[in-house]
Each structure stands twice: as structure tokens, then as C-alpha cells.
């Protein structure tokens, strides 16, 4: 059930927690979500390594409407190029006001999952297209 209007709720939830409880709580919410709700997924990343992460995201984005994403694993590192972020696209297409910190949910939720799996998550770009990378924690991102 990939109904794109659910992106409205992702955006609204971030706004509500930010405005009601503050940015620190929002970050903790996102990180808890990564640690708890996605614990099993992070475990699979840990067991399968970079290729498992790339395969997981390739499969995931197949089910996100209008996503244009490639995920490639090489030398224990995953690089994911998000040419079209399906969430930002749908929110924009529907005229929704996107919270300026929307893209940070990836930093914190994916970041917490990556940490569990023994990786460091790095994002560059955002608000529609970005590059997301997963480096083994033993490797500094600038070495990749």
C-alpha cells in the first residue's frame, strides 16, 4: 500500500513534534524510530554488509511512487543517488509547505540504523535530490 498522501503525515509529524516539543525531541524521535522500529532491517544490513544495504534500498524505492534512485555497493561502501525524492516531489506537487528540516529525517533515522549496522551515514544535497552514502565505521567518509 504505497499511497503517496502518507508523505503528508511524515511532513506534518515532523512539524508537530518540532513545534510542540523542540528540535532535540524531533531528532530523538527520528533516531528512536531507526533504532527500534527498523531494528530488524538494520540487523539485516549488519549481517549482509554494503551489498545488503544497496539491495534493500533498491527494493525499497521500487515501491515509492515516482522515485528515481540508484544504489550501488562497491569496496564496502554504498552510494545512493536520489535523483527524484518521491516524498519531496509529492509534497511539492500537492502544494504542501515542506518543513525546512524535512531531509534531516534521513540523517537521523538512517543514521541510527547505519550505526547499528556498523556504518556511518552521510548525506549531501537535499530537498528533492541528494546523495546518501554508507561507510563502514572503520573507514572515514573522506577515505571513500
Amino acid at each position: 500500500m504505497s499511497a503517496p498522501d502518507f508523505y503528508f503525515a511524515v511532513n506534518a509529524t515532523a512539524r508537530h513534534i518540532h513545534d510542540r516539543y523542540g528540535k532535540d525531541v524531533l531528532i530523538e524521535y527520528w533516531r528512536s524510530l531507526g533504532r527500534e522500529y527498523y531494528a530488524a532491517r538494520a540487523k539485516r544490513w549488519q549481517l549482509g554488509g554494503a551489498q545488503a544495504i544497496a539491495d534493500d534500498w533498491t527494493e525499497y524505492f521500487l515501491h515509492e511512487p515516482n522515485a528515481d534512485v540508484t544504489a550501488i555497493a562497491a569496496d564496502r561502501i554504498v552510494h545512493m543517488d536520489i535523483s527524484v525524492c518521491p516524498a519531496i516531489k509529492h509534497l511539492r506537487d500537492c502544494g504542501r509547505e515542506i518543513v525546512p528540516y524535512f531531509c534531516e529525517h534521513c540523517d537521523h533515522t538512517c543514521g541510527a540504523m547505519a550505526e547499528r549496522a556498523g556504518f556511518t551515514f552521510v548525506r549531501s544535497g537535499g530537498m528533492g535530490s541528494c546523495r546518501q552514502s554508507f561507510y563502514p565505521t572503520s573507514l572515514k567518509p573522506d577515505e571513500g
Binding site: 500500500m1 504505497s2 499511497a3 503517496p4 498522501d5 502518507f6 508523505y7 503528508f8 503525515a9 511524515v10 511532513n11 506534518a12 509529524t13 512539524r15 508537530h16 510542540r20 516539543y21 530523538e28 524521535y29 528512536s32 524510530l33 533504532r35 527500534e36 522500529y37 527498523y38 530488524a40 525499497y60 524505492f61 515501491h63 515509492e64 511512487p65 536520489i82 525524492c85 518521491p86 516524498a87 529525517h105 534521513c106 533515522t109 538512517c110
Partner: protein, 343 residues
């Protein structure tokens, strides 16, 4: 990225996060402010423009997007927009993926629809859901007549309606969850039922009642109760075994003083049809166990047995638990410990 394909899963997890960290009122505020007024504001826009017809069009589109198996009925002369859900895809996602982080996922619909309708002069005139993916709604303008209307698609005529347990609403107010009680929360029903006892005696299959248990609450498994030899039973914790229901029903109906039937309603276990056996729908125990922190559901985990559930129930009610001599209490600890990360 937080996608839309698994949204219902982390949406439910979010309810639990807000509830455990900030309390029940915070969750109600979230549904009202974030969901009704922000995420779902296109419903409000449509209703302000076209009234019930606007809501009908918006819900019809949602039904297409979310692949709902339902019937949406608009009868404007009768001031009625009615929804009859045969298989809720949202609850269905949780059931099929063995997800049950929060006490009651189904509450969220009333949580946002109620406040949204209030803003436009309409209301949920009547609503029931059975926590298994079936529900019905009557949405009407408050200021107009609300004549009773029957619809052919009424989900209550569907055999699936008799599974699960019901939450019921009238004019946006929640109604008592069980007969002969004014309690609208299953947690209060359970606390009331066991209030007069300080100890709970648990009896599973073949266990015998201890001699000195007069002042105790006795909770038995469905299989034990079905033997029919116990008079002093406070509550029956019915297992997820449909085959036990006929025997349980025979004993239950033969008693003048009847126990409270309780049941875990775990997501991927067989669903029991209490109504078919002329039994009251059992009171759910998971909301109490989750709220108290006695239980945390993890997809794919082993299903807790009768004694583990009884131990969690006693812990949640802050009662001492008495077990048969041959049951090792230490083996129950693993099953009954919540393991989520505290926040």
C-alpha cells in the same frame, strides 16, 4: 527515507512513542493538530467547499490510493455519509506484518476524523470498529436531522464482524466497552475486575485450585475452564485456540456467576469468534500490558503462553501471582519482560 509503503507500521510506532513519552493527551493532540489540521487538511478543504459530498469524493480517492475494500455511501437528502470497511488496508498492514507497538491503532481514525469534522459542523454520529480491519461510520451534519438509514453494505451483516472486540462511539463520545460497566477503557475494566484481590492465582491445563485461595482472584486458561469443574473463577484468559470455544461456551452459559473473559488478540494468531458461540467478546489485555510496560510486541517473536500472560497481567495490575508448584516462575521472566529502549 521514511517511505509510504511501510508508513502504517511506523505511524503506529509513533503513537506508542508519543504515548509513552508524553502521555495520552499528547497523542490526542497529535491526531488533532498534525493529522486532522495539517496532513489531512484536504478533507477539511473539500468539506468546506462541498460538505458531505466533498468528504465523499476525498474518501473515495483515498480508497483508490490505499486499495480499500469498502463501500462509501452518500445520501445527502438523509444527511448521511457512511463508510463500511470490509478489509482496512492500514490495520491489515499491521496484522500481516505482526506489528502491535501501541495499545490501539484503530483509535487514530476517530482521533483525527472527530476533530476534523468538528471544525466543519459535522460529526461522527455513530461508529464501531472490531480491531480486525472491519468498521463502519455514520458521518452527518450536526445541525440537520439525522434519520436512521439502513444500507445494504452494512459491515455488521458480514461474518467477519463477529471477530475481535468492539470500540463504539455515538455522537463522537466513546461508549462503555463491556456490558454492565460505564468504563470506556479496557484497562479500567480490568483494574476494576481485579481490584478487590491482592493475589492472582493462575491455573493452566490440569492445575488444581490451592486450598487457601478464597480471597484470591483465580484466572484460568480457556482449556482449564472448559473442564467445567471450577466454580470460583474470576477470569478466563482464553488462548488463541478456536477449537476451545464450544466447550468454554457450554461451561460459561451453565454458570450463574460468570467470569470475565479476557484475550490477548495477538496480531498473527487465529481469530476467535466469541459471538458465534453466544459468548461476550473477550476484554483485550494487550492495551493494559503495553501501557504498563509489562509487554512489548516484536514481530516474529514467540507467542507468550498462558502462564507468561498471567504473569504479565498480574504485574500490570500490581498483584502477587500464585502459580502451581510445577510451574517455574523464572521461566516466565524472559517472556514477560519488555525490552524496548526507554526514552
Amino acid at each position: 527515507m521514511l517511505g509510504c509503503q511501510d508508513f502504517c507500521g511506523y505511524y503506529e510506532w509513533t503513537f506508542h512513542y508519543l504515548r509513552r513519552r508524553f502521555g495520552e493527551a499528547a497523542l490526542a493532540e497529535y491526531w488533532s493538530d498534525a493529522i486532522a489540521a495539517d496532513s489531512q487538511r484536504h478533507y477539511l478543504d473539500a468539506a468546506r467547499t462541498e460538505g458531505l459530498r466533498g468528504l465523499y469524493k476525498t474518501w473515495a480517492q483515498t480508497g483508490v490510493d490505499e486499495v480499500c475494500d469498502w463501500t462509501v455511501t452518500l445520501d445527502e437528502p438523509s444527511n448521511l455519509l457512511r463508510l463500511d470497511m470490509r478489509e482496512c488496508p492500514s490495520k491489515g498492514y499491521l496484522l500481516s506484518n505482526d506489528l502491535n507497538a501501541d495499545e490501539d491503532y484503530c483509535d487514530h481514525c476517530m482521533g483525527w476524523i472527530g476533530p476534523a469534522l468538528h471544525q466543519i459542523g459535522a460529526e461522527v454520529a455513530a461508529h464501531e470498529h472490531n480491531h480486525c480491519g472491519q468498521c463502519w461510520w455514520e458521518i452527518r451534519n450536526v445541525a440537520a436531522e439525522q434519520p436512521p438509514i439502513e444500507v445494504a453494505s452494512d459491515i455488521r451483516r458480514d461474518p467477519r464482524w463477529s471477530i475481535g472486540y468492539l470500540d463504539r462511539y455515538s455522537h463522537q463520545e466513546k461508549l462503555p466497552i463491556v456490558a454492565d460497566s460505564d468504563r470506556i477503557d479496557s484497562v479500567d475494566v480490568l483494574r476494576d475486575w481485579f481490584a478487590s484481590s491482592t493475589r492472582i492465582v493462575a491455573l493452566g491445563a490440569n492445575a488444581q485450585l490451592p486450598a487457601s485461595s478464597r480471597a484470591d482472584a483465580v484466572i484460568v486458561s480457556g482449556g482449564r475452564y472448559a473442564l467445567g469443574d471450577l466454580e470460583q473463577v474470576s477470569s478466563v484468559l482464553v488462548e488463541h485456540i478456536p477449537e476451545l470455544l464450544p466447550a468454554i461456551a457450554r461451561v460459561y452459559r451453565a454458570r450463574k456467576v460468570r467470569p470475565l473473559l479476557v484475550h490477548p488478540y495477538l496480531p498473527q494468531q487465529p481469530r476467535l469468534d466469541f459471538v458465534e458461540h453466544q459468548l461476550p467478546r473477550a476484554t483485550p489485555i494487550l492495551p493494559l500490558l503495553i501501557r504498563s510496560g509489562a509487554y512489548c510486541h516484536h514481530a516474529g517473536q514467540a507467542t507468550p503462553g498462558f502462564y507468561a500472560l498471567a504473569a504479565m497481567l498480574a504485574a500490570a495490575l500490581q498483584k502477587s501471582l500464585v502459580l502451581p508448584d510445577d510451574v517455574d516462575a523464572t521461566t516466565l521472566v524472559h517472556n514477560s519482560q519488555a525490552s524496548q529502549t526507554p526514552v
